[in-house]
Subunit: 349 residues, 2 copies
């Protein structure tokens, strides 16, 4: 099959062997798979992060409950935001049948343990024509829900989790710094939770437009007005949660500087380098900094339900589709925020 | 009166004019006043912190609800952990009388606004023979409670607040990094809340001994065993809150490195310099970092009650007394953790 392959931190399209489902697993064809910013980060900073984690963890044995990590010198097919159609059943599969359309948390398990689908040398992700999923984790997509919308289950779940972790409640206000895919997911969930006002800051006009379509009450260009000034202008009273969804060095410090007393900062932007802060800023204002990653199984399920019920129109989030052969160009295109938010890989498109 | 005076970031003992109570205020004589690590920090790093805060705040007007700051070129008499006896009444005082023994949050107010007692050019703190307090904030010390114990109301309140901010609950475990006065206050409050195990790390044998007397279940010398290893040895299961009560650069990073997944870090050590962190450590483990400062009025009141009721024996915390003229030497002595934890200034002693 065709697949976009990462090898030695380079991305290329190649023919690779078709995967084979084991016991309790199904073979699926990929209908749609979103390209995630984490995969762009992984190509750029993966080597650096690996050596940093190695330095930090020393000789400690890996956590047996964590999925096995990939070896960069071997092939890895990324893509963890997928919607697939079942095309063949492995031994012992009882509840899924050929033709079912499913989404799944990007995790696979077998006799060897857990694997992170999309960051594994064994289990390829959705930047390919076929992939293997565990029946037990497959969630059937309600009929009538298009595959390209169902593929947003995973990225929306990241926003659902971040918002839940922040413990934001009705009566609170939110600022979202950065309207990339993670920021947009937070905005959509905040809107679904009835939080307001939601103030969003992004340098890109296109991203601000998307933020407004997904539920932001106020969008600002930080060169013209800061998020905190905009919040003071339209509210300035409610308890405030600030979502840091940029993830580059200096952003946590900036967020701590603008935060009012007792604000909560939810860090969901994944800064992969060393960073600096002034602890006295946090102490003086008694800030809370909460870091968030991923989602829980129930949040993933709730995400699919929210999309299926049409609680919010996520279609503006989708800005393009490419075939498998177009993945490397799509990675390059995503660097321009004026052009794209979420590109879906649709094999055969 | 005699007073230990800070002027141009130097501490000296001098004769200064007696203070005069205004409307709603009382004149008191200081019975005992604890020397706080913040005052040592203020002498060492005050100039640095002021210029940092100036750079951060820019030309923003001061918060009208914050107490006015002192000018370093004028006299400041520090000391905010005091227990006093009323010796004269200002106009309109109705509820306090001469001879009452009181503690008070270190705040004063008058027609000019709020003042931080002990960090004010107008209202001297307790490193002096006399001080002025607002009647409204005075809490009567129950008869029979010695002044030197009542003077621990303020530092214990810092621990009560930090523990409350951490949202630690029965069934959780605690690590306290650093058994200086703030760490000791946290340990005492954790013990009063029935939290266990409480694991404490400090390089000083004397401090570890005090930590054990105040309620630590396990004390470790980090050169021999780390706090996290000790916790794993005796528990390793319960949700964990780590109290960072050291407050020097690098401690937040170290705490993030040792923290298990989903741990909460409560930063109560006041690091006054720039610091570094690795955000990916926080993200990967979904840590919460909560900064805490000071206390609320009800926590201050609860602190006095806890001491009066003898819920816990805080007497090991007190390691010495000095007269006002001995304050500069006491500041120097406190640099040696083997010698002292809390020195009380007792005028006339």
């Amino acid at each position: 099959m065709r697949a976009a392959v990462m090898r030695d931190w380079q991305l290329r399209v190649d023919d690779v062997p078709d995967p084979t489902p084991g016991p309790g697993q199904v073979l699926t064809k990929v209908l749609a798979c979103g390209i995630c910013g984490s995969d762009l980060h992984m190509l750029q900073h993966g080597a650096e992060v690996r050596s940093m984690m190695k330095e930090i963890n020393g000789d400690a044995p890996p956590d047996p409950m964590s999925p096995k990590s990939f070896e960069p010198e071997h092939d890895t097919v990324m893509g963890h935001e997928f919607c697939c159609e079942v095309v063949d059943l492995g031994p012992g599969v009882e509840n899924l049948k050929v033709g079912d359309v499913v989404v799944s948390m990007p995790v696979a398990f077998d006799a060897a343990g857990l694997h992170a689908v999309g960051y594994s040398n064994q289990y390829n992700g959705g930047y390919a024509e076929l992939m293997v999923l565990n029946e037990m984790l497959g969630m059937k997509v309600p009929s009538g829900l298009p595959a390209h919308m169902a593929a947003l289950t995973e990225p929306l779940a990241v926003g659902i989790h971040a918002v839940a972790k922040s413990r934001i409640a009705k009566g609170d206000a939110a600022i979202v710094i950065g309207a990339g895919p993670v920021g947009l997911a937070c905005i959509a969930e905040l809107r679904m939770q009835g939080i307001g006002p939601i103030v969003v800051a992004d340098f890109s006009a296109k991203r601000r437009e998307l933020a407004a379509l997904l539920g932001a009450d106020e969008v600002v260009d930080p060169r013209v007005e800061t998020a905190i000034d905009a919040w003071k202008r339209i509210d300035g009273q409610k308890p405030l949660v600030i979502f840091e969804a940029v993830g580059v060095p200096g952003m946590i410090d900036q967020t701590m500087r603008i935060a009012p007393r007792h604000a909560r900062v939810l860090v969901v932007g994944a800064c992969m380098q060393s960073d600096h802060i002034f602890p006295m800023l946090g102490i003086g204002k008694e800030l809370t900094i909460q870091f968030a990653l991923g989602y829980e199984p129930h949040e993933f399920a709730n995400s699919l339900t929210a999309i299926a019920e049409g609680k919010i129109d996520l279609s503006p989030w989708l800005t393009g589709t490419v075939p498998v052969d177009g993945v490397p160009q799509a990675f390059a295109d995503l660097a321009n925020p004026e052009q794209h938010a979420k590109i879906l890989v649709v094999p055969g498109s």
